[in-house]
């Protein structure tokens, strides 16, 4: 039983010990599990979140190695490094790992799990054992997915979207496809459980005074992402189960011969797939919305605008699912192109607010801030080309060319990688009470930033020249090779930047730089407790009077800002606040 919200001195009797101390004490005194058993039985959201992050980073590196093999293959026109079939397996697994097992779980399973309970002042997630189950489903789903490479016939090779009829038993026989389906069923349940858990945590375990409109934007975005997950993932899981039945139990849900319809798969899949793009993006928007204000030394500009932009992005993203079927000609184009163009509006508002937060702030170019700015550039470029793709005439022309590959990499890499690593550098001190090496972080950033543009800009050009995606070889007389070589070189620059990250993690672990509880002078509640936080997170809480309780507590001279109406930077020498 935890009686957490009591401030230590009014709470529990004569000795002024808080209940937390008592719990800690009892757990250590009792036969608490140790070693690996401690990990296997842990229901602490911090342990689970950390496990999620480590697992998903391992999968990110694996998917990155697959990308390098593909880029090597494409550096020469008729390369025979891998066979056609192997190339198909590689891009399918690269895409599936990156999207389902890295980008989603890193932010939603990892960072959110660790940070959201801290940001709302809760001792743990609402359902700690369900949370642990989510992780074990995710881990076993990931292992299942990787087993695809071990079975006869190889891993799944129908692309990350598994279009019917390509994914049926005739066109994709073998266990690889089944394994892929089952892996996604497991991770799908894992995501749904985490979604339920986050919604309950945010609705029921907030600290007194922490109203909905005082929640950090990161938590808001995680709430909205959780709702999107609850909308989208059940549809995916159901669609996958039906696909499995088609493959094994003789149903004909997606096949024309049996009276079913292959378009149904696309219809179901994109009802998941389009929100999925934003399920991947919104958590990362949340990260940069935490980082930018802290390193601009200002409250976030347009707090409520941010919240409503998040809500409308979420709504529109589910409404526009059918725009992916432009080229099949089955849906009402005007309605869906209107909705997909509309999504540019809330996204634009967010962009404007990020710039507005930096405007006239005292910007500190820490590594986390650099990654956030890198995100802004990448996302801007991806957004512009995305609006181009959303208009049907251009989509007919560029569909399934490298233009599309370049576009979605700019968006996905911009969010999951740039913003994701902004989050890692920003919260690493929270996890360990130590910092990562800043100068190595800057090497990581600049190498990655350069590599990113070198890799993906040539792909736009080669896409406009007509190079189709998902090909292992291409003719040598079309002038595509030079662009592909540049792109491959870029990919290796990116790889080098991730070697720097590994070195940084290693050296910062071996030779720690201790940094105290709140090295960035940050705003939100999670920085109020110690770094790393104790078991059950808080021994006492500050009064919460604005969206920045920790800042208010540490800067009593600066007036509290409610609902983001402050626009002037809070300088420490000269307080200029136009409330």
């Amino acid at each position: 039983m935890t009686d957490l919200i009591n401030p230590p001195l009014t709470g529990n009797g004569a000795h002024g010990t808080s209940v937390i101390d008592i719990i800690e004490h009892r757990e250590h005194a009792e036969h608490g599990p140790t070693g690996i058993l401690k990990w296997l039985t842990s229901t602490d959201h911090k342990v689970i979140g950390m496990s999620y992050m480590i697992t998903s980073l391992v999968l990110f590196y694996m998917a990155g190695i697959m990308a390098l093999v593909m880029r090597l293959q494409l550096a020469t026109p008729n390369s025979s490094l891998v066979s056609f079939a192997q190339y198909n397996e590689l891009f399918t697994m690269h895409g599936s790992l990156m999207l389902y097992l890295f980008a989603g779980p890193f932010a939603f399973g990892g960072l959110a799990n660790y940070i959201v309970p801290l940001q709302v002042g809760a001792p743990d997630m609402a359902f700690p054992r369900l949370n642990a189950l989510s992780y074990w489903l995710y881990l076993s789903g990931s292992i299942t997915m990787m087993m695809g490479f071990l079975v006869a016939g190889g891993a799944a090779s129908f692309g990350w979207v598994a279009y019917a009829p390509l994914s049926n038993a005739t066109n994709s026989p073998g266990a690889g496809g089944d394994i892929w389906i089952m892996a996604l069923v497991l991770t799908g349940f894992s995501a749904i459980f985490t979604g339920v858990n986050l919604v309950a945590t945010i609705f029921y375990l907030r600290a007194p005074g922490l109203t909905m409109f005082r929640m950090p934007i990161f938590t808001w975005n995680m709430l909205v992402t959780a709702i999107l997950i609850l909308i989208a993932f059940p549809v995916l899981t159901a669609a996958l189960v039906m696909l499995f039945c088609d493959r094994h139990f003789g149903t004909h849900i997606y096949s024309v011969q049996g009276g079913g319809s292959p378009i149904l798969w696309q219809n179901l899949f994109w009802f998941f797939g389009h929100p999925e793009v934003y399920i991947l993006a919104l958590p990362y928007f949340g990260i940069v919305t935490e980082v930018i204000p802290v390193f601009s030394r200002k409250p976030v500009f347009g707090y409520k605008g941010m919240v409503f932009a998040t809500l409308s992005i979420a709504a529109l993203s589910t409404g526009v699912w059918a725009h992916h079927m432009f080229t099949t000609g089955l849906v009402l184009l005007p309605f869906f192109s209107l909705l997909s163009l509309l999504i540019a509006v809330p996204t634009g508002i967010k962009f404007f607010n990020w710039i507005g937060t930096m405007w006239r702030g005292e910007i500190q170019f820490s590594t986390a801030m650099l990654f956030s700015i890198g995100f802004l550039f990448a996302f801007l470029m991806g957004g512009v080309t995305g609006v181009m793709l959303a208009s049907p005439p251009i989509d007919f022309f560029t569909h399934d060319t490298y233009f599309v590959v370049a576009h979605f990499h700019q968006v996905l890499f911009g969010t999951a990688v740039f913003a994701g690593f902004a989050g890692l550098y920003y919260w690493y001190p929270k996890f360990f009470g130590r910092t990562l090496r800043e100068h190595l972080g800057k090497w990581h950033f600049w190498l990655m930033f350069i590599g990113f543009w070198v890799t993906f800009m040539p792909q736009y050009i080669v896409g406009l020249l007509g190079m189709p995606r998902r090909v292992a070889v291409y003719p040598s007389y079309l002038g595509w090779q030079s662009y592909n070589i540049i792109s491959t070189v870029g990919a290796f620059i990116i790889a080098a930047s991730f070697a720097v990250l590994l070195w940084n993690l290693w050296i910062s672990w071996r030779k720690p730089v201790v940094c105290g509880d709140n090295p960035w002078d940050a705003h939100t509640l999670e920085w109020f407790t110690t770094s790393p936080p104790p078991h059950h997170n808080y021994s006492h809480l500050p009064p919460i009077r604005s969206e920045r309780p920790t800042w208010d507590y540490n800067h009593p001279e600066a007036p509290a800002v409610g609902h983001g109406e402050g626009r002037e930077p809070h300088r420490r020498d000269k307080v200029t606040v136009g409330q």
Binding site: T2, D3, I5, N6, P7, T10, I23, E27, G32, P33, L37, K38, L40, T41, S42, T43, P123, D124, A126, R129, A132, L133, Y135, W136, L137, S140, I143, T144, A175, D178, M182, A183, V185, L186, F203, L205, A207, P208, G209, L210, T211, M212, I227, L230, I231, F244, L264, N267, L268, F271, L311, A315, T318, G319, W321, A322, L332, F335, H540, P543
Partner: protein, 130 residues
């Protein structure tokens, strides 16, 4: 609970409208079903929360002027550690392998899942874990 309820009711309203537009412009049943389902997904918990808010009023976390003392008291029981999520997860893993590789995974899978369900229920009733 008011804002929480309104977020979910907003989901219901939005998907109600989109669902209606979709149905009357396409008469396509698959997509309409999904949109109606999503509308209900927002409506059911949303209206429950709203009813709850009307009955119970504001909690300390809904009041901007609440103090730390307002939230005093026991908030919930949190299990300290438990092996059952792991056992249940491994059961699900085996079940999935049974579908991919054959039925000899099936029986250990069901065994693990049942053990875990019994175990987790007993653990909750004992309430022994802090």
């Amino acid at each position: 609970m008011r804002i929480e309820a309104l977020v979910l009711i907003g989901v219901a309203i939005f998907f109600g409208i989109v669902g209606a537009v979709y149905w009357f412009t396409s008469y396509e049943d698959g997509g309409t079903m999904m949109l109606v389902g999503t509308c209900l997904l927002g409506l059911l918990p949303g209206s429950y929360y709203y009813w709850w808010h009307r009955r119970m009023g504001d909690r300390p976390e809904d009041r901007p002027d609440a103090t730390v003392e307002d939230g005093a008291g026991e908030i919930a029981t949190f299990p300290g550690s438990s092996i059952w999520p792991f056992v249940l997860g491994m059961g699900a893993f085996m079940l999935v392998l049974a579908f991919a590789f054959g039925m000899w995974f099936f029986f250990p899978a069901v065994g693990l899942i049942l053990t875990a369900l019994v175990g987790v229920t007993a653990e909750s009733r004992r309430g022994g874990h802090v």
